[in-house]
Point group: C2
Chain length 652, copies 2
């Protein structure tokens, strides 16, 4: 078995991007029309990779916890987002170039300019030495912000660094003040910028032929869950906790989308809304994840200007109150386990707590799973405690109760004084005033009723309604002590929301999986785990000769029956070239058919990362590769079953 | 084994709709906000059913034929749909009430009014007798068009019937003429209606912060395929035929959406674009489907006013030219086989050819798979030959070639006369006229060049350019015969497009699956095939007692490992009620755990349609139900493995 050196060459983003483009993982949408920023199409490789990630997500979350899946509409009438607060507040701060009118996102502008100045300072201090690759990368980007190599005072450096650490915490006015304080201008023109203004990120449209119903494309799938809460609760036999889950497209009209999948205008999300009793946010399966250790970056650490996370078990973090409750902690651990399963490098994964002003308008606590990549740390999963916010506002707006009714094991028994009217005579006596007097008496508190009760025991009482006194006799009114039994508790559940940006996970996974062969930097490999690899097995006949067809078809059919997705490459390229192509596609295994296969019914099995080749009878190779793909065995175990094949070097 | 009578009660749409609502297959979106016509949310049952249909679609089409899957964006910049013709022509004809301004779809108005008059005529002639259920159903619909029982002349009846049979063939002006000819008015107000106007069905929005990029939500996924054609061809090693496939959301701002899933404003489609050589539309696997017999309703039959289809094998239909080519026929047969697999009743399935004016602007031939349901025959799958339309228009617009380059086995050799200029002297001689003269000579045809050649053999020729004669000597110009060799053929492929409306298939499937128990019309059953049923197995412990928990968990885990999706119902309802609930959810099998299970490790297996119960050791029951769900055995075979259980009546 060969050993593999995956770090012989430093990470090269340009090469990776060329590979992803060449092998059609994704490409700018409408490319032949010049493209539109922030819109991407997934090709066969990207679609399969995404479908496999989604499939595993369904198993890991929906099937594992019997969540209730939903598929709700994207087009949403405006009143829903008016209630949810999105129309007023789902916005970013933008500034305009004071002369050209170009639009910039305010926080990005501050970040880019200050970072560039700090880099210039380092350069001036002779500490520059950006890694070579990064330097090269920067030159390629037309819009990368560059600052001259000017040394700053130590105090200014400290100021900049603190500002950057707190950046997510600033309001629009504060961002505007920073632009003036630090003289931040549009780097493209050196013009000043305007005061930050809010720009709503929802795409607007209108519904129906007359255009009278304004609508928005949803910026998240969550509202579709909340609006269906009563139906979901009913489906779950009225019991809480339970969760709904949805995988679907959402839209955000970003001010400045990045190149690539990290900030796009249309994306696939997977969201869970877990409904829980606000008085009991424990989780029945918390013990299963108690010992999972995460890198946590809490809000206090950030406020102090640091970005150094603490390694802590979920159990400890909840016990110490770093994470607000068990359910939030449970999902953070489950998110972590999911990301590892699909192939994210745990050393480049941390959980960062939102700072107070950064938090969405609905959240009471929120942690982001951030994944490190060539652009820095990127939020890929949010895990928020939305409390009762959404269900409460929709219920208030529509008058439709979005509550849980829980039968109490022990009814709550209370006693209180209740007025009893002799309705017939009361009406006759007070005529048109009767209603107002009755209403007034019914509105009285315990103490006042007791006072009246005492007076009635003497024969009558006098009440003053609208400044007019009325004498009420004990024949018309009695105050009686009654017992009340409350056997149902009614409450609005709180919502814990893990929310996944699948495109960001997919892209960072591709970065984490990419490397180049030690012997040739041009030979890129995507070491995607078999679980998510677009194709599991490549079937490679030595040539397109017809005599190989029956074996190709037999192996394809047997793999299909075993549920293993394979592709045949019978193109004219050499076997080495075909394997190199599939290393780029991330295909973990290859089966080669040659003349020996036709004679002896043997074939070879190649492993992508090591390029090891083994040989065995066809059915044994199929059984082995099936066990490999289903993670029942690993490659060293496969090597114990199948002897090495000596023709390796000749073929590659 | 029991026998089942599924037709004891006539189909009752009201009961089905109540069931689908109660069991949250789907519900109006934003229901607590009053809903919006044409927008529906799928609940847990509907989402699962849809996911299973999609899963089978992927296997039946994408995996089976190694199609290239895509996932392209919904938001599309306007120029794409300007080129494709959608901005100009993707529209319906609408009329307005001349007084109230209410909007009606013109073809629906004509259809509803004429059908109502024909019904009134039948009633007057004493032939009325609508089936009882249908009558009841009509009363429920607020907007059902009713006409008085007035007898019409035989000629008028004939006129109306011919109009209805040809309805899909009329233009806007013709629909307007029909309204005047037959005095068709808005049935709600009896007011006249305006001339039909086009209403574009695309939802409009704009992209980016400055609003300068108009965009539309795609009304089909197809353009996303076409724009990526070059990349797909490259991925397929430059070979044709091949197919791309995509499953995704599309949007149409319908003028008058129907209640239910049959005409909605947002829907999930599954589309295949199969690229084929226009000179060879044969299909390599056609022989596999040659004998599949379909009900075909071709355009000539419809034009003659009939709606009676002909049963014909695909082989015969292609041979006779009823279906244009093998590839179109191949996909029609594959569509048919897919629909049967998911549970559509083949007796209620026909293929209707589009009439000339009805066909989309891009299509050269088109057949719809129509499925009969309580509202009539509904198009659920379209199968169109779009020819080279889309690739040609996008290529012309963008200048990006969307073509196949095919190496010719035998190069095509041609000879032709070619002018050769002595460039230096030619320029010197004719100065500023040189370019125009050269261009003129190069534009000449074979015959004219031969004439000049003859004159040059005499020393010189005279050409007239822009009315001015120029003498050209043989020193400045020679005409020579040259040989050309063409080794590559370049062509724009044609596209065969099967396009599936998944919501329509899902709804008609629910209608085809629904019936009521003979002994109780209120006990509805959805006989969904195990392949697509949302849940395959219901696990029912006798009660919520803790002693059953270990067995419930064991069986759940074993089924999960076998890939069988199950749910546990440990609610307090009686076992009979729990089974009745799951009959409504379409769950095909139930496993009951009682005290005998705890003692003897046996459990019972119940089949939904027959309500038969069998008994056996837990592992044997799990193995049997796994084989049943995977269609390896049927229920009679299962009954041979497991003995009958006698407690059936007691439990139900």
């Amino acid at each position: 078995m060969s050993t593999v050196n995956k770090t012989a060459h430093p990470f090269d983003k340009t090469r990776l991007e060329a590979l992803l483009n060449r092998r059609f993982f994704y490409a700018p949408a409408f490319e032949i029309y010049g493209g539109v920023a922030g819109l991407y199409d997934y090709g066969p490789s990207g679609s399969s990779l995404q479908a496999n990630i989604i499939n595993e997500w369904r198993k890991h979350f929906i099937v594992e916890e019997a969540m209730l899946e939903l598929d709700t509409t994207i087009m949403t009438p405006a009143p829903v987002f008016e209630t949810s607060g999105h129309v007023a507040r789902f916005a970013d701060w933008m500034v305009k170039d004071s002369k050209t009118g170009d639009v910039l996102r305010a926080d990005h502008l501050v970040k880019n300019v200050l970072e560039a100045r700090l880099a210039g300072d380092k350069e001036a201090r002779g500490q520059a030495a950006l890694p070579k690759e990064e330097e090269k990368d920067k030159k390629k980007k037309k819009k990368a912000v560059k600052a001259a190599a000017v040394q700053l005072s130590d105090q200014v450096v400290k100021d900049y660094e603190l500002t950057l650490a707190q950046l997510d915490n600033f309001s629009g006015a504060e961002l505007g003040a920073l632009c003036r304080k630090f003289d931040i201008r549009n780097p493209d023109t050196d013009n000043e910028v305007t005061e930050p203004q809010q720009f709503n990120l929802m795409f607007a449209s209108s519904i129906g032929p007359t255009g009278q119903h304004p609508g928005y494309l949803r910026p998240e799938t969550a509202q579709g869950h909340f609006l269906n809460f009563s139906r979901l609760l009913d489906f779950n036999n009225g019991r809480v906790p339970f969760a709904s889950a949805q995988i679907g497209r959402s839209f955000r009209n970003e001010i400045s989308p990045r190149a690539g999948l990290l900030r796009v205008r249309e994306f696939t999300m997977a969201e869970i809304e877990h409904y829980v009793d606000p008085l009991d946010k424990s989780h029945v399966r918390f013990k299963e994840v108690r010992d999972v250790a995460l890198d946590l970056l809490d809000r206090n650490v950030q406020f102090a200007g640091s970005t150094k996370p603490t390694k802590m078990t979920i159990g400890e973090a909840v016990d110490k109150g770093v994470i607000a409750n068990e359910t939030l902690g449970y999902f953070m651990a489950r998110i972590y386990l999911f990301l590892l399963k699909v192939g994210i490098n745990p050393k480049r994964l941390r959980f960062r707590q939102h700072m107070a002003n950064e938090m969405a308008h609905y959240a009471t606590d929120c942690w982001d799973a951030e994944i490190e990549n060539s652009t820095g740390w990127t939020e890929c999963v949010g895990c928020a405690d939305r409390a009762a916010y959404d269900l409460t506002v929709h219920s208030n707006k529509t008058g439709h109760p979005l509550v849980v009714r829980q039968a109490l094991k022990e009814p709550i028994v209370t006693e209180k004084e209740v007025p009893e009217f002799n309705k017939k005579n009361f009406g006759k006596t007070f005529k048109q005033d009767a209603g107002a007097i009755q209403k007034y008496i019914e509105s009285l508190g315990e103490e006042e009723l007791l006072k009246i009760k005492g007076e009635l025991a003497q024969g009558s009482t006098t009440v003053t309604v609208d400044g007019k006194p009325f004498a009420v006799s004990s024949e018309l009114l009695q105050i009686e002590r009654k017992t009340f039994k409350q056997s149902v508790r009614e409450y609005t559940p709180n919502v814990i929301e893990p929310s996944f940006g699948l495109g960001r996970i997919l892209y960072t996974l591709l970065e984490h999986s990419y490397w180049s062969r030690e012997q040739d930097v041009e030979r890129g490999v995507l070491s995607l785990p078999p679980l998510v690899a677009p194709t599991k097995v490549l079937i490679v006949p030595l040539s397109a000769k017809e005599e190989f067809d029956p074996l190709v078809q037999e192996i394809s059919a047997k793999l299909r029956r075993a549920g293993i997705f394979s592709r045949v490459d019978d193109s004219n390229a050499s076997i080495g070239k075909r394997y190199a192509r599939n290393d780029e596609l991330g295909t973990p295994y290859g089966i080669t058919i040659d003349f020996a296969s036709v004679q002896n019914r043997t074939c070879t099995l190649r492993e992508r990362d090591t390029m090891d080749q083994r040989i065995g009878p066809i059915d044994e190779v199929i059984a082995t590769v099936t066990a490999l793909v289903e993670s029942e065995i690993d490659w060293p175990q496969a090597c114990q079953k199948l002897p090495a094949y000596d023709g390796v070097q000749a073929i590659e």
